[in-house]
Symmetry: C2
Subunit: 269 residues, 2 copies
C-alpha cells in the first residue's frame, strides 16, 4: 500500500482537493444523506481509512467543501484584484475573474454546494457566511468608492453588489462549456452589459414608460441620445408603432404556441 | 369534520395553494427526504387523509410545487407583459413584476424549490424545464426585437436574458423584507442599473483597463462624458490617482482586517 502523502505537502494538498471535488460531485448527484462515506471513498479510489486521512468526518464534509470553495474564490478572484487602484477597473477585473471561475467545470459542484446548501448550522454556518459577507462588503465599498470618485452614477451600493453577484453566480445554472457562447465571450458581454448599460435610443413618445422615469434617468436618456448624435451616430428612431395586437401575437409566438405540458397542480385532487 | 371543498372551487384552490406553500417551507427547512407526509399534514392542520385530498402523492409533491411556482410566475409576471408593444418597456415591466414576485415572502420557498431542486426526473423534469425555457426564449426574443428596433445596443440576447434572470432570481437569497431597502426601491435601482448602465466618467489615462474596451464601448464612453457636459453636468474627473498602496490598504480594510474564522480545509488531516 502506498504511503500517505505528508500533511502540508503539495501532494497531500492536491489529493485533498481531489477528494473534496469528488465528494461535492457525489453530494450534488445523490444528496448529502444518500452519499455514504463508502461511496465517496470508492469514487476517490481510496479505502474508508484512506479517505479519513483527508476528511475529518462526514459531518464536517459540507463545511470543508464550502471552505475549499471560498479558498479557491479568494485566491483566484478576490486577492488578485485588491491591489487595483481604480475602483471600476477593480470591479471589472473582479467580475471577469469570477465569471472564469464559475464557468470552469472542475470546481462547479463545489460552487453549487457553497451557494445552495443551507444545512450548515451554528459556528460552521457563521464561518462561511462571514467569508461571503466580506465579498459583498468588498463589492459595496468598491461601488461606493467609484461613486465618490465620480466614476459611476449614483447607485445603491448594496443593490449594485447583489446585482453583480446574481449575474455572475447564476451562470453555473445555465452555462455549458460546449455551448455556443464560450467563457471569454460571456465575460466580455456581461462586463459590457453591467458597466455599460443597454438602452441607447429613447422610446417613441407614444410608448409611455411603465413607471415614470426619475429626473436623473430622463436627463441621462436625453444625454445619451444627444451623445449618439454628436458622436456621428444618429440615435435610431424605432419605426412607427405597430399595432399592439401584432406585437402581442409575436410575443406569444416567441413564448411558444401553447402552454403545453405545464398542467395546473389544481388538477391533482 | 368539515366537508372538503369541492374540487375546482375557489376554496379548494386556496387550500391547495396553502398546502403547497406549507410543504415547500417544510422541504426547505428539513429537506425533501426528512419532511414526512405526516409532518406536512400536521403543519397544514389536516389529517393525512385530508392532505391526500390536495396532493396526489409525496413523490408528486416536488413537481406540484414547481408547477405551482411556474403558474404564479406566468400569471403575475409573464402574461401581463406580453401585450406591451415596445420591447424595452416590455422587458422593464417584466423585470419589475418579477422582482416584486421574488421579494414576496409568501411564495419564497416555492421559488427556492423551483430554482434549486434538481431531484425531478424524466417527464416531470422535462415539463418544468420546458416552461423555464419558454421564459428564457421570451426574454431572448424581446432583447433581439429591441436590437432590431434600434432601442438597445448590440448584445448577445442569450447573455442578456441570463444576466436579467441572474440579477432577479438571486434576490431571494439575500433580500429581507425588514431590511433597509424596500422592494419598490430595489426594483427601481435594478431597472436603472440593468437598462441604464453604470459608468459615466472614463478612467484617468494612467489607469489602464484590465481588458481593452471594444471600439463601440470606447465611443459610447466618450459620448456619455460629452453628453454629461452638454447637459450642464460636467463629467466629474476623478481626483489625482492616489498611491496604489493606500487604495489596496483601504480595499483590504473594506474586506475585513483578518481572514478570521475561515480555516483552510488543508488543516483537517
Amino acid at each position: 500500500m502506498p504511503r500517505a502523502p505528508e500533511a502540508g505537502s503539495d501532494v497531500h494538498r492536491e489529493r485533498h482537493r481531489a477528494v473534496l471535488e469528488t465528494a461535492a460531485r457525489l453530494i450534488c448527484e445523490q444528496g448529502y444523506e444518500a452519499a455514504s462515506v463508502q461511496d465517496i471513498a470508492d469514487a476517490c479510489g481510496l479505502t474508508k481509512a484512506g479517505l479519513y486521512y483527508y476528511i475529518r468526518s462526514k459531518e464536517d464534509l459540507l463545511l470543508e467543501i464550502m471552505s475549499y470553495g471560498m479558498d479557491i474564490f479568494e485566491e483566484r478572484v478576490l486577492l488578485p484584484v485588491l491591489g487595483i487602484a481604480d475602483p471600476v477597473e477593480r470591479l471589472r477585473a473582479c467580475m471577469e475573474k469570477n465569471i472564469h471561475l464559475v464557468t470552469e467545470q472542475r470546481s462547479k459542484e463545489v460552487t453549487i454546494i457553497l451557494h445552495e446548501h443551507e444545512t450548515l448550522t451554528g459556528a460552521a454556518r457563521q464561518q462561511i457566511n462571514a467569508r461571503k459577507k466580506r465579498y459583498v462588503h468588498f463589492l459595496e465599498a468598491s461601488f461606493a468608492e467609484a461613486m465618490r470618485e465620480g466614476r459611476i452614477r449614483a447607485v445603491e451600493p448594496r443593490v449594485a453588489a447583489f446585482a453583480f453577484l446574481g449575474m455572475v453566480l447564476w451562470i453555473y445554472k445555465w452555462f455549458r462549456p460546449d455551448g455556443k457562447i464560450p467563457a471569454d465571450r460571456l465575460a466580455a458581454e456581461m462586463l459590457d452589459l453591467f458597466f455599460g448599460g443597454l438602452v441607447t435610443a429613447p422610446a417613441t413618445p407614444t410608448a409611455a414608460p411603465v413607471a415614470p422615469a426619475a429626473p436623473g434617468e430622463r436627463l441621462r436618456r436625453r444625454g445619451q441620445a444627444r451623445a449618439a448624435a454628436t458622436a456621428g451616430r444618429p440615435a435610431r428612431r424605432p419605426p412607427p408603432r405597430r399595432r399592439a395586437q401584432a406585437t402581442r401575437q409575436a410575443a406569444l409566438e416567441a413564448l411558444g404556441a401553447g402552454r403545453g405540458g405545464g398542467g395546473r397542480p389544481g388538477g391533482s385532487a
